[in-house]
Point group: C2
Chain length 264, copies 2
């Protein structure tokens, strides 16, 4: 499956908050053999959210995951932006309403929050784009949302990492696992020969194994240490082929008098 | 000025590498009063790079900064992708050629690299889109690039953080400073009252000070602790106005029996 992530929040764009969610999700998407094609971070703006979502949907990914902008305040515009982008009404969702009501009731009873009952701002979180399935948020109050548009499934997740992670694990991961593909990632580090010296050999290996992606990254400037990484998505016997290519690369490195440091 | 960042690299999308560059740049862009409008991460693919760049340019940002994909290997496709996106030829740049030659000469003399002289792969890094100004990379070999297209300035920077940072500081920062705008960011933390309880009051303050952006973020699920942040771009007396709004918010929080934790 092809996946895109849409990160929504001014705090990311002014550098106040580090977007750790995307990397966390990216690892899991790759692990189950799916291709994360794009991560886009945008500001809290209904028009920007709606037009960006439309552009993403034109590329027909299987899954879109948004994070952020689900809270009770006026600056949380994700649901309104998604509704506009999909040209759907926002309408009250009774399941969402009840779960939000219950979360606040519990928080009030436990003495965490002092304001009892539903308010306009709390109700706001239960207004979802038509066709939404609310996703329980046991770590917070704003539920996540699942929607489908054409062949694309859209997951709208909170930006608070602990809340995002629980909903991802409970709802998104099972789908990634069910439609699981094969992903292989292997690599090593080498020193003593630069990226540019090994480049023609790597190109030869790449041509020999066209289904593998082989990338080298200098880890320290001037190629003092280089990481070589082989990735394969949905390749029959990918594990063995990647290992075979890596063995040939090991030989090349040693033949050039480079030193190999295997990954732990 | 409006800025967009384009992050290029499969390693980001499979979650192998954390994109720390964007957050580092985002802070500096905001600090000098400029608006980072979007961060986009895409894979190493000439077509994706070229079409994404074209879409960015349609939005007419003042500055586009790309990171990654500048090395000597075949998987480093940024220059080819940018050239295609701008419909320009890649042509050898003598300044770039000489600086790359010199970097390798030094690395060879210092015993860091064993291969002497220029090779096809090393030369590759000196083929720049027509009209490029190479930007010296004292921490590595691949130079950065400065280009203009219409009213947009494009900076093409390496993905290795130490290399990116030096070029950013030397070349991008002076431009951000020269065209400096005003940016104010203030805030506090509060406990005891949730986001939803304070929301109507914050909306009132927001209406009173329409030039400020006021955002609340739960720091812990269920709003156990909430961060409130006020941001202002290019507002006359922004500092004073934000402080005034923050004072009114302090009063509101205390009036609701919330507790304030000031930022250090």
């Amino acid at each position: 499956m092809e996946v895109e992530i849409l990160v929504i929040g001014n705090e990311i764009l002014i550098g106040k908050t580090k977007d750790t969610n995307s990397n966390w999700m990216a690892k899991r998407i790759a692990k189950y053999g799916h291709r994360l094609k794009r991560i886009i971070a945008i500001e809290d703006d209904i028009k920007v959210i709606s037009t960006t979502l439309q552009t993403i949907l034109e590329r027909k990914p299987d899954i879109v995951i948004t994070t952020g902008g689900l809270g009770p305040t006026f600056d949380d515009m994700t649901l309104a932006g998604v509704a506009k982008g999909l040209n759907r009404e926002l309408e009250i969702n009774q399941h969402a309403y009840k779960s939000i009501e219950k979360a606040y009731e519990n928080a009030y009873k436990r003495g965490i929050l002092k304001l009892e009952g539903m308010t306009k701002e709390r109700e706001k979180m239960s207004y979802l784009p038509r066709g939404s399935i609310p996703l329980p948020n046991i770590r917070g109050t704003a539920p996540g949302v699942k929607l489908t548009e054409g062949d694309t499934t859209i997951f709208i997740l909170p930006g608070v990492p602990s809340e995002m992670k629980v909903i991802f694990q409970n709802v998104v991961k099972p789908i990634l696992k069910e439609k699981r593909g094969k992903f292989v990632e292997k690599g090593l580090f080498f020193i003593g020969i630069g990226e540019s010296q090994i480049a023609p050999y790597v190109t030869r290996i790449e041509n020999k194994y066209p289904l593998l992606w082989i990338k080298t990254h200098p880890r320290i400037g001037l190629s003092l240490e280089v990481e070589l990484s082989i990735t394969a998505f949905n390749v029959e016997n990918g594990e063995e082929i990647a290992e075979q290519a890596l063995d040939e690369i090991r030989e090349i490195i040693l033949g050039l008098n480079g030193k190999i440091r295997e990954r732990k």
